[in-house]
Symmetry: C2
Subunit: 295 residues, 2 copies
Amino acid sequence: MSHHPDNTSTVPVADTKSGLRHRVRAWKQEGATIGLVPTMGALHHGHLSLVKRIREACDKVVVSIFVNPAQFAAGEDLDAYPRQVADDLEALATAAADLAYIPAGGEIYPDGFATLVKVRDMGDILCGVHRPGHFDGVTTVVAKLLLQCAPDTAIFGEKDYQQLQIIRRMATDLDIPVTILGGKIIRDEDGLAASSRNVYLSKDERKTAVNLPRILQDAVARAPASKDLRRLERDAAAALKKAGFNSVDYVEIRDADNLALIKKITRPARILAAARIGKTRLIDNMPVDPAPPGG
Amino acid sequence: MSHHPDNTSTVPVADTKSGLRHRVRAWKQEGATIGLVPTMGALHHGHLSLVKRIREACDKVVVSIFVNPAQFAAGEDLDAYPRQVADDLEALATAAADLAYIPAGGEIYPDGFATLVKVRDMGDILCGVHRPGHFDGVTTVVAKLLLQCAPDTAIFGEKDYQQLQIIRRMATDLDIPVTILGGKIIRDEDGLAASSRNVYLSKDERKTAVNLPRILQDAVARAPASKDLRRLERDAAAALKKAGFNSVDYVEIRDADNLALIKKITRPARILAAARIGKTRLIDNMPVDPAPPGG
């Protein structure tokens, strides 16, 4: 990636809601469809795969970059979260995004801001147990970004699978006229799911981290024939600790749509996990499909 | 009002979200601006004044009728709340509304519905203290109605002043692209604010009820010169009980914009009250303006 991009490889930036709306309105008047990729920046190939995927569905692609304080619980890594706007803009230029929306905090949370968008039940399990208020922060800011940008389609990575399902629920429930797409998890060569937080890992920690997808893959293989999914989950959690994770927030197998706990794999399910190495919290998940008939 | 309206005095009805959107989209394509009057039906001249007022601002007027279960607290009058759709449609035809939106419950709360829109602080005072969850129910359904209809302007009566201010906050906070108007309180000849709940009052109770606006009017006259607004509030509450109200939920003088408690009338304020006669809970409010210089 060149550090001296020429004019043909820069991406326009809007830093106000009105600037964003002005641009989007003009595109819509030309008959273009709009795709939005909400991000917190620190873009990696996972994000860029979302840009590529949404371009198949939309004429114009907007990528928002906003590190949203409301979705970090007290004591989490808000201050440490990687910020690299110049690199991000270069990556977006190369990916041929049509607009970067980088709002100042006041564009998102004006004086007196007091509104919360909350998805009950689905937001209170899995990561919701370990990150109090996290998903309320996510759904509130995503509702705002969807209403500021008014895209036809928005895309979120399946890496944050619970977030994706909660956002689908929220957009449906509030009648926000948008199609929500999920983008497949992008993995590095060692199998670790791409994440902006992977930069926190030391070389040794990374060696431990790659056991997360391996152990989940093993559970995925066993799940369709399992008569005791809770035991399978406990075994996977124990394997993670044995592999060097300091603690395991959860390993759970749930319905792929509504995230309800299930006892048997009779329809599409998902295994989801969160575990910690040192100060770094990693999440991952994989589809668990029913065994084929006679399988 | 005729009970045999001819074809020129009927109002079209949409009972699905898609039917509503179809109609609104067609109007917008013609360049028309859209106004929405959300109601719970049982329309009276207060509602009809909102239709008249919003027509000054918009080309097409949609009136929604939906008795929203989510905004009734347990033990409140959800079942008893007056329902009179035929009369409502006749009134809307006479008022020349362009569309009545009367969604079935499933159009508003689909299976699995789990999302809550909450305005903190402003929703926890005044009526929020006495009607747990009420304003969450209001803001959730209003967000949905605004996003289903996508009006340019929506109007709410100042009779529910706290609700109006909470909805303004919610629409601003969530970036819903709509202008929120407040409609002046419409009073019957005896001074009582028009309300669908006034039908609950017996003839004797009504005689008691009219003391609510009288006592508030008296407090409004005294407030600008008052050195102790809390005492003024207590005096008004005592006067309401003396006049025959069984209990007083609150009488409070607050900032007209953000509803903060104030100690002195230095900028526009509002006196707000809720009190009960038998099973009927009545609310009312009035502007309190600073005394003119030298006054």
